[in-house]
Amino acid sequence: MTRLLYVLAAAWHGFSRNPFMSVASTLTVALMLVLLAFFVVTDRGLQSAVALLEQKVELVLYLSDDAKISQILDLRARVEKDPAVSRVDYVSKDDALQRLKELAATRADIGPIEEIGSNPLPASLEIKLAKAQESRRVASELRAEVGGGIVTEVVDNPEVVDQLLTITRVLSIGGLVVLGMMLFVTLFIIVNTIRIAVHARRDEIEIMQLVGATDQLISAPFVLEGMLVGIFGAALALLVLIGAAGPVTTSLVKFLDILPVSLGPNFLARLAAGVFGLALLMGAGGATISIRTHLSR
């Protein structure tokens, strides 16, 4: 009990002894956490935007005019078996013509379709992919069919797919790098704050070591002080986030109207818990680094 009181009092004393430093590091930690949370939200939005775009990746198989229905159904069944394929739609010659007519009605540069006597458009299978990165493989497998069966041509969009994949990769790697740097800066700030606190109390620490206090007891107030910086920083960051959550969510939903990105209460609660847990962990971790470095000298 006496020990616990000592640890609590010493931690609070340490935090309040140097208010400028404590407030400065608390603010910096809060700022870092706000940036981090904002970044997580943005990254999540972008990731779902890319995911949505990935769903739009498709291949088109043009079919010869003399293909029989049974052959087409057979081909469709084979294509659907591929796990990378999410869906296959059959577009008949008539459907294709109908689409062209609809398009022509909205565009002046395409002449009146009615003047064409026969239907020159081929029937096709439109393949939607579940995994955009499989696009090249699926396309090349289907190209092998050209000439042999009813497939006359395979059309895909390798550049678009590659760009999409690059964006996804840059987002996730870049995200991790930025996140890592922010965590490092936060840790650095806490380590330094506690190092200053340790330095300010080095005489006390020396006496504690001389009279036979354990390393754990000597460390405890500093670890707690680091956690205080983390907790106050997280609380401040959460206040800012709660204040900003409404307007930001609204504008994000407006901006990313079509996106299936969920920024509902569940996501925000997990984000808040994450921010808090991270702040505590960094506070305790940073402080432990500082005091243990001092004690092991």
């Binding site: 006496t2 005489d203 006496i207 070591q209 009279v211 036979g212 354990t214 390393d215 007891l217």
Partner: protein
Amino acid sequence: MITLEDVSKRYPNGTYALRDIDLHIPAGDFVFIVGSSGAGKSTLNRLLIREELPTTGHVVVDGQDVARLRRSKVPLLRRKVGVVFQDFKLLPTKTVYENVAFALIVTGHDGTTVREETDRALALVGLLPRRHHFPRELSGGEQQRTAIARALVMRPKVLVADEPTGNLDPVTTWEIIKLLVRVNELGTTVLVATHNAEIVNALRRRVVHLDHGRVIRDEREGLYAA
């Protein structure tokens, strides 16, 4: 209580602070460690509380080989060996009482023990009336008595005093030495490293003379110089 066997301490720069020391100090002994500056007195003290490790040999305190002690066990050794320094090492923001109680609090004693033992130690050094004063309000002798109370409050088996009277005038020096003799009479083994020939010669206690890291003299009722 304390046994040094073939102990040498060599610093990384190659100089020997202690060389081939064999020393046995039984429980209840009162020993003056004398010798000029740099003879190795402070190094000897630091070995006893494992602030430093011997380069070779064994330092045994209360049956334990100090060098073999795990880091986590060092605090337990230090609770058995109280230390007092020339510069007192008191915390200026704490009162006399708080300075002494601090040792008990940070070693995990409960509130009742802290109060009772702190009062006992302060009574022993005669500082109960000054308990609420801060170190800056005390004389040098009173500050040193506070430091001795802080060491004694742990009820150590050994009290090591490194030049305890180095900063004190002759009258106060005698006060402190008498206090250390009293502590010894109450059963604590006492080691006093000192330059002060007058007190060594007056007390006629065991004298261990160090010179350039070696024991050159060890007499039961010795004088400062041979």
